[in-house]
């Protein structure tokens, strides 16, 4: 470039610089701190990446920003990967970022903590939100891979426990790009098709990266939106995912989830058995009570026919007694009559007269004379003899007292 050369237009200069920069910085990794972060509605991210001595404008376009698993924040120490370009309108250097890694703690860990905080703040982990598992799970919806260990573990437990239920598997990919969307959609589908009473959502063990789908917001939201209680069963005992926090029940493993379902079923059978025994024993008690109350009444209660027979028997007995009594009465009377007649006969004065005695009766009043002194000579008497009467006159009184 010499003085004789014609001057460049600004835009031409920038174009030349751009070509130079872009050709030489196709792939760079730059470490620095995020500042002046802005996130317009377009979905692109703009920020300044800086260190103690310098700074550079950075842009992350929508397509790349969408694949970020955490939300970049001001002050975050990061490594940005991308290329360097020049922003023509302002002649500024610009780092076009394809990916961001957090320095120190892993980006996934950061994302996990961020989402956990966000959902907790919404109250989605609250214990009041947890719904009880159905007492009688008849259909279990399972969201997992059709080829993974989870479905087999679940079926094995249900078989071993002899729990006859219907299992509806909604097969999904459980890791990799798009897995979270499939899991969320499967949860929604099982809420409308298949009539499941409870859902088991899970996968086998793996790295944080493998389990990542279960830490995504879309899955957490689908679990929250489910009308059917959800059991999360992700990885091993030590793996805790966001899905575990929002699920109605967290099972340590898929096997434990199936055990849980089997348990409620077995508990129900136990409940039914107890009710059946109670029903029988209560009825026995009632019958016993009623029988006790009935016995005295029953003893007094006789059928009319029986009553009639009893009465006629009694009547017959009475009649018999009556007849006998009558007979005896007649006999007794007869005897007494004879005795009385005998006695009467013995007392009869006629018998005395038979033996030669006579009775003196006053002529006037006809009374019997007992004392000679009551007589005077000349009195007229009638002498009653055994047969006939003699009229006599008193001549003389002797031995009067």
């Amino acid at each position: 470039m010499t003085e004789s050369s014609p001057p460049l237009r600004v835009s031409r200069l920038i174009e030349l610089l751009k070509e130079t920069v872009e050709d030489n910085f196709i792939q760079v990794a730059v470490e620095g701190e995020i500042s002046n972060l802005s996130r317009p509605a377009s979905g692109h991210l703009y920020f300044t990446l800086k260190d103690e001595q310098g700074q550079i404008r950075a842009a992350m376009f929508r397509g790349s920003a969408r694949s970020l698993r955490f939300v970049p924040e001001d002050g975050m120490q990061v490594v940005c990967r991308g290329r360097v370009s020049v922003y023509t309108q302002r002649g500024e250097l610009q780092l076009v970022v394809d990916a961001i890694d957090v320095v120190g703690a892993g980006g996934l860990q950061i994302a996990f903590e961020q989402l956990k905080l966000k959902l907790a703040a919404e109250g989605l982990f609250a214990s009041e939100r947890k719904r009880p598992l159905p007492a009688w799970p008849r259909t279990i919806g399972v969201v997992t891979s059709a080829t993974g260990a989870v479905i087999h573990d679940i079926l094995r437990v249900l078989e071993r426990r002899g729990v006859g239920v219907r299992v509806v598997l909604c097969p999904v990919r459980v890791q990799g790009e798009g897995a979270a969307g499939e899991i969320a959609a499967a949860i929604a589908t099982l809420n409308t098709v298949g009539e499941a009473d409870v859902l088991i959502v899970g996968r086998g063990g793996g790295s944080l990266e493998d389990l990542w789908a279960f830490n995504e917001e879309i899955v957490a939201r689908a679990i929250v939106a489910s009308h059917i209680p959800v059991i999360s069963a992700v990885g091993h005992e030590v793996d805790v995912t966001i899905a575990d926090y929002v699920a109605d029940l967290r099972a340590a493993t898929p096997t434990a989830a199936a055990e849980q379902v089997a348990k409620s079923r077995l508990e129900l059978e136990g409940h039914l058995d107890r009710l059946r025994l109670q029903l029988a024993s209560q009825m026995r008690i009632r019958i016993q009570q009623i029988r006790q109350r009935l016995t005295p009444i029953q003893q007094r209660l006789v059928s009319p026919q029986m009553q009639l027979r009893l009465w006629s028997q009694k009547a017959a007995t009475l009649q018999d007694r009556l007849q006998r009594a009558t007979f005896r009465l007649r006999e007794t009377r007869q005897a007494r009559l004879s005795t009385l007649a005998g006695r009467l006969d013995a007392l009869s004065p006629l018998r005395t007269l038979e033996r030669g005695y006579a009775i003196a009766l006053r002529e006037g009043d006809g009374t019997a004379v007992h004392d000679a002194a009551s007589l005077a000579p000349g009195d007229r008497l009638r002498l009653r003899l055994a047969r006939g009467v003699a009229r006599v006159t008193v001549d003389e009184i002797e031995g009067a007292t």
Partner: protein, 82 residues
């Protein structure tokens, strides 16, 4: 399935009510007997429903119209190799 479930829950509730009424022990014999009979029927209904449920496995697949359809789930070969 839903009808069955309702039947079961109704039967179970009926059974619980029958036991409670019998436990109260204040109804005449005729009612107690009716209660008992109701309870016995409910028990057998529940038992029947519990017994008829065999382990069945189905799979939700996208049908030709894009809507999910239920198909029997064939357990993979992996199981038998174990």
């Amino acid at each position: 399935m839903t009808a069955d479930k309702e039947t079961f829950e109704i039967a179970l509730k009926g059974l619980e009510a029958a036991v409670q009424r019998l436990e109260a022990g204040d109804q005449p014999l005729e009612e107690a007997l009716a209660c008992f009979e109701e309870g016995v029927k409910a028990v057998s209904r529940c038992q029947e429903l519990l017994n008829q449920a065999e382990l069945r496995v189905e799979q939700l697949m996208a049908g030709s119209d894009g809507k999910p359809v239920l198909t029997p789930f064939a357990r993979s070969e992996k199981e038998s190799e174990e």
